[in-house]
Each structure stands twice: as C-alpha cells, then as structure tokens.
Amino acid sequence: MPETATDLEPVEDFRLRLRSWLADNMPRARRRGAAPLRPRGQMSDEEELAEVAYHRELQRRLFEGGFAGICFPKEYGGQGLTPEHQKVFNEEIWPYDYPARLQVPPMQPCATIILDFGTEEQKRRHIPAILRGDEIWMQMLSEPSGGSDVAGAQTTAVRDGDEWVLNGSKIWTTGAWWSDWALCLARTNWDVPKHRGLTVFMVPLRHEGIEIHRIEMLNGSREFCQEFLTDVRIPDSDRIGEVDQGWTVGTRWMFYEKSFSVSFYVTRPTPPEGSGDGMSVGGDTSLITEARRRGTLNDPATRELIGEAHALSLVSSEANRRIGEAIATGKMSDQGAGLSKIIGGTLGIRVANINFQLAGPAAAAWTEDSRAAGDQGVAFLTRQASQIGGGTTEMARNVVSERLLLMPRERTLDRDIPFRDVPRGPSTG
C-alpha cells in the first residue's frame, strides 16, 4: 500500500511539476471523443507490434522521468505516492498518449499480486522491470474446459526436485504472443477439493514447452491466445505463495481483476474535474453523424434510438462512478464490482442493438461508402463478447445476488470431494 505520510510532495505541487514534464516529454494524444481509433482486433500484426513497442517506450520515459508507478513503493521503482496523486496523474495525462497496453493486466492484477504475495527477491526482480516497460505480464488463468469456473483449473504442476513440471492448456490470454511473462494458476494436488490443490507460478512466455496459438475471433480479431504447455519446467523460486494455497492468491487475483476500473495502480486518463469540457458528460456524437449520412437524422424513430443510447451511456458512466466510490470508501463490498458488469452488460447489448438498427441494410453488405454500417454489422456479430470477457454477466449476477444481497449460494457438486472425482460430463470424460 502506498505511504500517506505528510512529508510527501503536496498534490498540487505534484500536478504542476507533472504538467510541465509531460509537456516536454510526452506526445499529444489524438483528440478524445473524435472517431475511435482502429479497434485493437483490427490492427495488422505489424501495427500491433509497433504499438506495443511504442507503449514500452512511453512507459520507459515515465520511469525515467520519475512518474511510473505512482502508487507503487519506492523500493521497487515506484513513486510511493497516494491515490490522490494518481488521480492527478490521470487528469494531467488526459491530453497525452499513454502506455495503455501496459496497465491491465500488467500493473493490475499481475504487479499487484507480485507485490502482495511475492518474496522480496521476486519483487525486486520483477516490479521495477514492469514499471520500466521491460516486462509485460499477462494472466494464464482460464482453461478451455473451465468456462466460468476459474478454480477448476486442470493445468497440472508436478514437483521434480527444485523444479515444477507444468502440463496443460490456458486460453483467452490477451497478446501472449508479444508479452514476456505470465502468472499461471495450476493444480498441484488432485486429491483434495478443488480450492485446496492450486498453486500460482510465474512463467516466462518464451520458454521451452510453451506453444502459443493465436485464436481467430469471428470478427477476424486475433488478440487472444491459447497456450499449450508441455513439460514446462519452472524453478520453485518462481512459485508465488505457498504450495496448494494458490486459491488464497487466486481470490485476491480475482478481486484485482474485477476492480481495475477503480484501482490507483492503473492509469486511466480522465478529463480534469470541473473543466467544463463537454466531453466529461460523455456522449458519442458519431450516431448523429452516421444518421445524417444515411439520411435518417430527422426520423423521430431514429432520434429516439440515438437519445436512448445517449441516456444509457450517461447513466452507466455515472453508475460506475458511484459504485467505484462506494467500494473505495468501504460503503459497499468489493463484490459490488459485479454491478458495474451488469450495468455494462445491459448497456452493451442495448447500444449494440441500437447501432445495428440505425445502420440499416448496409450492415449486411457494404462498400467503401457504407463502411461505417459494415463496422456496426461486424460489431453486432460479436455483441456477446462484452458479456463474456473478464467474467460472464451470468457470474456477475451470481456474485451480486449471493455476495451482495446474501441470497443462498448455488449448489455446487465440487466443493467437498477430491478434485479428481468432480463430475465433468461426457464431453471432457
């Protein structure tokens, strides 16, 4: 946790120093609120690699300027400042490019997990490297057979002297093909109930026995990977936390994964408060532009849809702000993050439907002139992705009802029996 001592640099001094440093050292961002950047999934590999390299470079500049890891401890290369400083950082960096790809999961949950559970040596080795942009970390968490049941990991680690031998497969790792390291949840004991036989390891991604396969999504995006691990040997010194106690780490890991949107370890450019910048109200004017192009802007049915989308966007951003504050101030349990997931889900589905409806028939087949409609068609095909990635909305509904509203838990048939005896159904034998 960051220090809160009174001898820290006052927030407003920090703001001025930062502001002037940024002006001298960081490139200006494209204007936010303008047409969106090309979605990650639609970049060519070359473009993607170039962006990764650019983000590493931005991170290095921040590190060298003394602005990387605002809330990370000084002894590991951070700045040892407070969440207030991070908030100022988020505001001041708003007009600039920033290393977006190095925030989630590298800073959180990866670096924060190492910070919480790593040995002194592990922390000294990896945290500064992460803050310098030298190491990009990912999460090897989900498995093909696992679905929403993260603790049901079947990737197995067997001890062999001072080493562990890992076998299995992980999936949905973003950008594993251009990243360096990963946290990996593995099963070290099949003879105890599922939560009691897990262990977490630090795994270098370019390592013998790891084969990285890129998954093609139905929209052509290839940002996700599946890793096949065959006799991957990891020294015991790269284990995080105790053997078979991995779910202690895992629980925290899940928490960090869900709460990134309110984390002060993560940089999220935000417009300065009270700036009067209309954009702080949100609102995507591209619907207006597109309706004008299609000639439907004066159709009341179209206008209602546009207004509906705008209302949902304003309300959900206010809702996320409220939920974040409630969690940050302890007025709501951490599990409240599930509410944001539900709200985002409702919003995501409805707005995708609106965009699709406004696009018209050219969403099915388009030429260069009607590419915007085609983009909406493709986006509509992947509508559910936002309900699945980072935990399904179904799981969020379970969490909210059981953890926040304290309703009875769903019956599980895998709690008190050895993991190897858990029913797995005909498909996985």
Binding site: I288, L297, G307, E318, N398, L405
Partner: protein
Amino acid sequence: MELELTEDQEFFADTTRKFLEDKATPTDLRQLRGDPIGYAPQYWRAGAELGWTSLLVSEEDGGGSISGRGLADLALVAHQFGRHAAPGPLLATNVVAAAVSRRGTPEQRAEVIPGLLAGETVATWCWAEPPPRDRLGEVGLSATPDGQNYVLNGRKGPVEAGAHAQHLLVVARAPEGLVQLLLPASSPGITVIPAQGLDLTRRFAEIRFDDVVVPRSALLGDPSATEADIERQLQLANVIQLAEMVGAMEKAFEITVEWAFNRYSFGRPLASYQELKHRFADMKAWLEAGHAAADAATRAVQDETDWAGEYTSAGKAYMGVYGIELVQDCVQMHGGIGVTFDHDMHLYLRRVVVDSLLFGTVSDHRQRLATMLERREAVETNESHEDKEATNA
C-alpha cells in the same frame, strides 16, 4: 441518494422520514383515495414547517436551504416522498416557489410566497397541454395582447393540484414568444375539470381558459428569458421526479428482497432460486444506476451547468424504463397478491409510473437528448474545423 450527506442533511432527511412514516402510512394512503385533494391540510402545513416548500426560495423571501444547496436538500425530501409514496403537491409548489422567488416582482413574491412557505396555499405550474398537444413543450394556449392585458384561451393539463391550487403559473404563446403569467386560480373564465389519475393521492385537473383576462403585470420575468426559465423549471421538476422515483424503486426493492427470503416454495425460499436471484441482481444494478442518475441530475441542475438538461433527460429516459421494470418485477415476484389493492406494492408502482409520464415521457426525453447531442456534434464539428485551421496556421 448521494453516498455522502452532511450531518445536517442526514438529520433533515431523517425528520421527513419519521414524519412520513407516521403520517403517510400505506393505510393512510388507501384511505385518501377518495379524498378530493388527496391529503389533509394540516399534514401539508406540518410538512411546510419541516421545510418542504422553502428550499428553493431565497433567504430574502423567507426561504433557505439546509446545506447551502437547496435543490440537493429538496431531493432528499423527494426521495422520502418516493419511499412513502407520500401525498402532497411537493413538485408543483416547489417549482412555482422557485420561479417566483427567482423572477417575481416584489408584489408577486409578497403575494405568493408566504402562503406557500406556510403550507397554507398551493401553487402549480400550467405548462403541459392535453392531447393532441401532449408532446413535451407543445404550447397552444394563446395570450392575445389587449391594451394592458393579455386574453388567454386554451387548455392546460394534466395540472397537479389544479382543482385546489390558489396560484397558477401559466405558459402561453404570445406574439412576442412564450410568456409565463402568474394568476389567481379564481380568475374569471377559468374552468377546472378534475381528472382521474393513477396516483392514489395526487390530484390532477384539466384547466380551460376562455377569454381569461390577465394584466401584463402578471408576467413572470421578461419574455426574452421565458424559454430559459421554462427549461430551468422543467429541470427542477425532473430532479424532483427522479429523486421520488429512485425512492419508490428502493422501497419496492427492499420489500421484495425481504419477501424473497421469507417466502418458501417447494420447501425453499424464493431467494434460493437462481433465476430469481439473477433478476434481483439486475434490479440492484438498476437501482444503483437510478441513484447515480438522480444524483448526477441533481448536482448538474443545482450547479446550473450547461449539460444539466442532458442529465435530467438521461435520468428520465433511464428510469422511465428501468425504474418501472424494477417495480413491475417486484410485483411479479409477489405473484397474485402483488396485484391486489391491499398490498403496498402498487403504491410505489403508481408513483414511478406517474412520474415517468409527466414533464416529459421517455420518448420525449430521448428525442430531447438527440437534439442536445446534435447540438454538441455541431460544436465539435466547428471545433475540429478550428483545430484544423489552427494546425494549418
């Protein structure tokens, strides 16, 4: 409601809560359903003593806020009104009190405000008109100049407390544009037709104006500012509605969560059924979003920011759907008894439904948002044009 309140605000809200718990029980509400004005006069006077009608009135006029932010304070009262589906012309009175305190001549203020502050009189805003002029903002009622007078002809409705308010603030179309006129409800030529309504205790009416002669001195504010004044009054009305709606949602949700734990079906509490649990999770999410929407709108209107209208409209567009769905789903969770008159759930349903329909339906506010977004797009297009020129220069 806001996550953080000042101590004074907590105390204030709690006083209103206790008062309503005592004086506006569900049994009271059921008994009032046949009452011509929907509440007991002494109830309203007592509420006025608690400050219900003073929060948007300047100190000079005898009003004053609790926290220095009168609308935020009023939203606390409205929130409690929603939680109790409480009777009384809270919206009507406060909107007119605010407008008169802000724009009224000394004579107008002296005439209208003291009675409102004391809870002795009621004022109401006559803006909406009956179908086929019932889209938000349509004004057909005419104010024809005639020497030092205007002559009013047309219809207004639904007007809250229209059959018992003493003061009417009437929006009319004059040759110079929209005007607002403050006149006694007893003016000759006015006919009041009481309406039937969904809310058990709120009374509405249609008011007909047939050659109603009003002196020019009845003008509230300069006509050049009337459009902005109306916008401001709409925003105030919407903020009060939003706070009420979120209160009603909250109460309906609480009752239903408790029910789900206590009601057993097939040997299990309802709260153990996954499909119902997921609906409760959604309801909780909508409720939190409702709070956030109401609070954001309150802050924006309190601060008179440029985007206040976007927040109030977004709130109305959101809660007119999700707020109502929440309460309807609470009804569903109760099964048959949820649709009986003896159950309390319909009290909250009536409140959210009525609030969703007046001062702009969901559809009206969506269209308003599109217009505001269009305006913003025009600004951005200009800016980006300027950006380019700046770059080229």
